[in-house]
Each structure stands twice: as structure tokens, then as C-alpha cells.
Symmetry: C2
Subunit: 381 residues, 2 copies
């Protein structure tokens, strides 16, 4: 409720009139470190600010911590953005065809979220990467504007999320543009999906995010091992930071008004210096009320793979012949927005995730798929 | 063709190495007045610029004048943006229905231009104004985000233009959201269309833009006179600046890389101080190669109408009873992008403009409408 409104040029006068104490009134101003960019926020300034005492330290950590856990109303907005964005991802899957341009997938997404959800903006520039572009983590910007043609055999990696009343969603779906996963695509996709599901199954208050990142790494490395791409001891691979060769980014980040919401390194949390882990936007323990993205990925990036395959300490883990098949494959990422509850968590994102779900939806099945029509692994209905 | 590339921090060294003369080399820097905002552009700056002489006056008028007339390649891009935007306007007309939200019209436009034209951006924020919003000249921004519901009997005024490789289009269509013009809507629409067509018929090199603005005003006032909304001598009304009550904005502006392209007041052209005319973004004479918008409008804005109806000098012109029917009507604008040739001009915009064309397209007719299917005024085919 608004109790008074004044013109901005009256701020000095009004604040002094309302001040009951003696000496200069004290202003608490926002001045804090952005732990992603390493820049400091610029505190408020106005003519006459020299007539006040200023405190630059108190407000920022308190206000930022308020943003780390979400209220019911905030959750409602994030859920709405997730619902319409999940629908829009399905719409894109259904319409994707070999021969289209990546930006046409973006346009379908933007249109669905605006037309049917009233979302004028996205939380971030859409990443619509196909083929080898899907290994470029921040594709889609002005210098790489989603302009490749979809080719037979390509995977698509679509990282797109609508924003509603300032609150965002951040969702990635990966699928074959022709609608059917081949053996190689299934292997990598299921490696990432297992990691995504393993993390969500383990999330609850008190769990450390670094451990979740390592769980995702381990799950992916195990799958690559089972698939014959790697061989050797998984724990030794993790120790050599092999996980960061395939997943060079962090597992996920806080989400809210900002896509990368602040507060990831408050309360004494420190940034790691190790590959992969140093990219984490938070190393905190989970709290009830946090909304955090879970976005494991597995990419084949020559700039990382080649040095690791040539390094005497790590070369022994790679099945060179197998891995060469995946040069140019790009990558897979699966990203959901997850809300931490008192006893576990809730996945707010409602996209098809299992291979059979994605193939069914791309073939025209309704979504959500009525349970009786999903064939089981052995073909039964 | 690029003949050499250097790092930005080498600029001082490289320029000095290439300089053959004696003394400090001279840099021509851009520093000019934006005649819309009255701000000056900030000239280039870099470490070591004190090792150069600087000229802040020469470059801006020359470079700006280069932008005033367009090359063949520039025209090709502006034409492409016009073609896809004209198509998209038709798509919007075909899908507009009572009960929709204004932003859904925006979403349809954005989707068509991106999906089928590869246009990621518009030249400006879409103005999708219906009902009384259509009298708000710069509607559609964040504080008025196209969020009204389309009502039976509303006119829509849609000012939307896609951009392609930095070159823009700027197009306004006005139509009744239910697909059929009633008597009042036809009267105002045809008043504006007559002005639009009269101006385009008169444009050629050497014609003054102020005269074109006055021609539009006169045509609109004549129509309002014939329609019984005004009465009296048209020239006397123009002298009293009554045209600016109904069309408070300028007739049009140069178009190119910027939606409001620069150069409107070069070569000694001066801004008028009179109502309506002072809003003109150029008062120059037309030159071959200019691209300029022609966008007459007729609006019923209480803040302008009421004082004019109460003013003893102008009250006599108004038919109060008639004009009261139009309070809340909003307004009509018709805007095309026009290229000045050596002997006349070419309308680059290809939207349905005649009432019968608009009604036919909204009823499902193809566009362009095959000539044999357009009924003539007396109903003949």
C-alpha cells in the first residue's frame, strides 16, 4: 500500500522532514558484489546526498538473502512462466523439421508464450542450437543469431524460458530434429537424463550444491563408461576432473527476478578453483524455498577433448575410436527449474523428458500423454 | 574489403605509423545534434587521443547527409522489411477478433516477420492500440503494454514494422476489429486515406515537406467538413491551426537505419514553432533517393478538442453534437514508407488500404486481391 508520493527532487527535503533523530539521518544503500561479473552495484545517488550519513554494507546481504528463498506469490509467477514455457517447448518439438532454420524454432517459442501466456519477454536470449552449435554454451546472441539450417541427423538443444511479471523460467530441451533418437543420440541423452533425475531425487534442504554437481558428473561418466566411450575407474576420473571435459558449466543456479538470481555466494560460501566446479554460480547448501535450475549437460568440445585425450594423466580413459564418432555431435542439455520443499523438491518444469515421450509428442501425441498410451520399454501398452 | 586489422589498444600507435605528415595527425570525429532529442552525440574517445588534433564539426553533417538519400542496396533492405511487414499486417487483420488482447495482435505480427522473414527485431516497439487507446500516439511501451481487450465496435490502430539487417520499416494499418466499417469509422478512415493518397500523388523532388503536411491537414479538414463534424472556411481553419487538433504529430519522417533517420534539419532547414508543424521531424524539400514515411492521422483527443471547442476563435468551426459522438472513438492513422524517385515516388508498403480491400481481406479474401473479385462501389464485379 502506498502511503505517500513525492517528487524525486524533493527527496532530501522529505527525508529530513520525516527524520526524528539528531545529526544527519542514516541512509542504507545497496552496494554489493555481483559474484558472476565481479562488478559492484552502483549505490543510489541524488543531489543533496551529502546531507545524509551512508551505510553501504548492511543492506545488500540482507536484501539479497531475501531473494534466495521465494514466497508463495513468487512461486506462483515462476510456475506460470514454467507452465507456458513447457507448453511452448512442446509446440516447438511438434513443429521442428529438417530444413527449417534455428530461428524459426525461436519464433515458435516466442509466439506461443506471448500469444497464449501474455509473456512479452524471455528471461534471456533464446539459445536454439542444432548440430555442432549445441556444444556452444552461449549460442543465440547477436553474433550467432540462431541462423543455421536444421540437418538430418542433428540434435537440437533449445534453452528458452519466458518471463512473466519479471519472474523467469529457464528450460532446456534436447531432441533429434527428425523426431527419432538414433543409438548415439540415445546414449548421450540418457546419460544426461539419468544425471538430471538423480540430482532431483537427491535434492532436499541441507544438501550441498557441489555434491549435486559431482553426482551429475559421476552419473554421466558412468553412462559414458557403460556406453564404451570411456573406460576405467569412475572415482579416479572425477578426481582428474574428467567430468568438466564433458560438462564444463555448473549444474545450476538460483532463479527468480534474475535468470541468474543473486545470493549464490552469501553466508561464507566460496567459489571453487577446480574445472567445472569453478563455474558453479552457487556452492551453498539447499534451503527450503529456493528455486534452482538443474541443468546437467554432456558436450563434445574439441578444445577440451583434444588436450584431455593427449594428456598422459587422462588419455587412458578415452576410447579414441568411439569418441571420434562424436566429434561434431554437439551436446545435450536437460534443464528444469526445481523448487526445494521442506522434505525434498518439486520439478516446476513439465516437458517431455523420456525418449519415448519425446518421440511420441514429436509424432503428434497429446501432451501430457495419457498414461495408457505410453508403450513400456518392452513394447507393451 | 578489409585491408588491415589491429587491436583496439594499438589505435594510437598504428594511426601515428600510417601518418605521413608533420605535427599531430588530425582525427575527424562524429559530434552532432540530434534534432529530435536535442542531445549531442558523444565523439569517439580512447587512451592517447590527446596525441591527435581533433575536428568535431566536419564529419557529422557530411555523414548524415549521406544517410538522407538511399543507395540501391539500402532500398533493397527497406523493401524487404516492407514486404514481410505488409504480409504480417494482413495476417494480423485476418486473425483479429473481438475478445482478443491487443498483445496477441503484436505476437502474430512478430511471429510472421521472424518465422517467414528472419526479422529478429522490429524497428520500434509495436503500437497495438484499440478503441480509445488509438488516440494515444506512443502507446505500446512498458507502461502501456498493449494489454486491452478488443471490444465490439473498436477500431484498431496498429503501428508495427520489422527490421532486416538494421534497416527498418514503419507501417500503420487501421481497421475495425469486427471486420466491417460502420458509418463513423468509414468517415474518419476515408478522411485519412484521402490525405495519404493526396500526399503520395504530390510527392516528387523539390516539393517541400511542410506543404505536404498542410496538404494532409487540408484534405482531412475538408472531409470532416463534408461529414458534418466541422463547418466553415477550410483555409481559415488551417490558419487557426485546427489541423493540429486532429493531427498533432508530423506527417512523416526519414526512414533508414534509424526509424527516425537523421538529416531532417540539415542544409539550413528550420523547425517551425506552430502547432502540428513544430512536430515535423523534417521541413526539407524532397530529394530523389529519400525514403520518408507518409502517416497522416485523425484523432479525437479531449485534451486538444475541449480547449479548441471552448476557444472563442475556434469554437465556431465545431459541430458539437456531431463531434460528441466521436469522444472515445480514438483515432485512425495510415502510414506507408515512400521512396522519392526522379519524377515522383513509389509506395514501398503493400497493405490493403481501401475499405473494400480491408473488409475483403478480413473476410478471408487472398491478398493481393485478384482484380476481378473486387466489387466496385455500385456492387458490380
Amino acid at each position: 500500500m502506498i502511503s505517500a508520493v513525492h517528487y524525486t527532487d524533493e527527496i532530501t527535503k522529505v527525508l529530513h522532514q520525516q527524520y526524528q533523530g539528531s545529526g544527519k539521518p542514516l541512509l542504507y544503500l545497496l552496494h554489493g558484489l555481483n559474484t558472476d561479473s565481479n562488478n559492484y552495484s552502483k549505490p543510489a545517488d541524488f543531489e543533496g546526498i551529502d546531507k545524509f550519513k551512508m551505510d553501504l554494507n548492511t543492506l545488500h546481504p540482507i536484501l539479497t538473502e531475501c531473494r534466495v528463498t521465494k514466497s508463495e506469490l513468487e512461486l506462483t509467477l515462476i510456475q506460470f512462466a514454467n507452465d507456458i514455457s513447457s507448453e511452448a517447448h512442446v509446440e516447438v518439438m511438434r513443429n521442428a523439421k529438417v530444413g527449417m532454420k534455428e530461428y524459426q524454432l525461436e519464433s515458435l517459442f516466442l509466439h506461443h508464450t506471448y500469444m497464449y501466456g501474455g509473456c512479452r519477454h524471455c528471461s534471456y536470449t533464446c539459445i536454439c542450437a542444432t548440430g555442432d552449435n549445441s556444444a556452444v554454451l552461449h549460442y543465440g546472441h547477436a553474433a550467432a543469431p540462431n541462423d543455421k539450417t536444421l540437418q538430418e541427423g542433428d540434435m537440437a538443444l533449445l534453452d528458452m524460458g519466458a518471463e512473466y511479471h519479471f519472474y523467469g523460467s529457464d528450460i532446456t530441451c534436447s531432441f533429434p530434429v527428425n523426431g527419432t533418437f538414433n543409438r548415439d543420440q540415445s546414449l548421450i541423452y540418457n546419460a544426461v537424463l539419468r544425471a538430471h533425475n538423480a540430482v532431483i531425487s537427491s535434492m532436499r534442504p541441507g544438501v550441498g550444491w557441489v555434491n549435486m554437481h559431482k553426482l551429475a558428473e559421476k552419473t554421466i561418466l558412468e553412462s559414458l563408461n557403460e556406453g564404451g566411450i570411456l573406460f576405467g575407474d569412475i572415482d579416479a576420473m572425477i578426481h582428474e576432473r574428467l567430468g568438466a571435459i564433458f560438462m564444463p558449466h555448473g549444474l545450476g543456479h538460483l532463479l527468480g527476478i534474475d535468470t541468474h538470481d543473486p545470493g549464490g555466494y552469501l553466508q561464507g560460501a566460496e567459489r571453487s578453483k577446480e574445472p567445472g566446479l569453478k563455474a558453479l554460480r552457487t556452492t551453498r547448501e539447499l534451503l527450503e524455498g529456493m528455486v534452482i535450475t538443474v541443468e546437467p549437460g554432456c558436450y563434445f568440445i574439441d578444445a577440451l577433448l583434444v588436450p584431455a585425450m593427449e594428456n598422459p594423466k587422462t588419455s587412458k580413459y578415452f576410447n579414441i575410436q568411439e569418441i571420434n564418432k562424436f566429434r561434431g555431435f554437439g551436446g545435450v542439455r536437460i534443464e528444469s527449474d526445481v523448487y526445494v520443499t521442506s522434505s525434498g523438491c518439486v520439478n516446476m518444469t513439465k516437458c517431455p523428458r523420456e525418449i519415448q515421450e519425446i518421440e511420441a509428442v514429436m509424432a503428434g501425441a497429446p501432451w501430457p500423454i495419457p498414461k495408457t498410451t505410453i508403450p513400456s520399454a518392452n513394447g507393451e501398452i
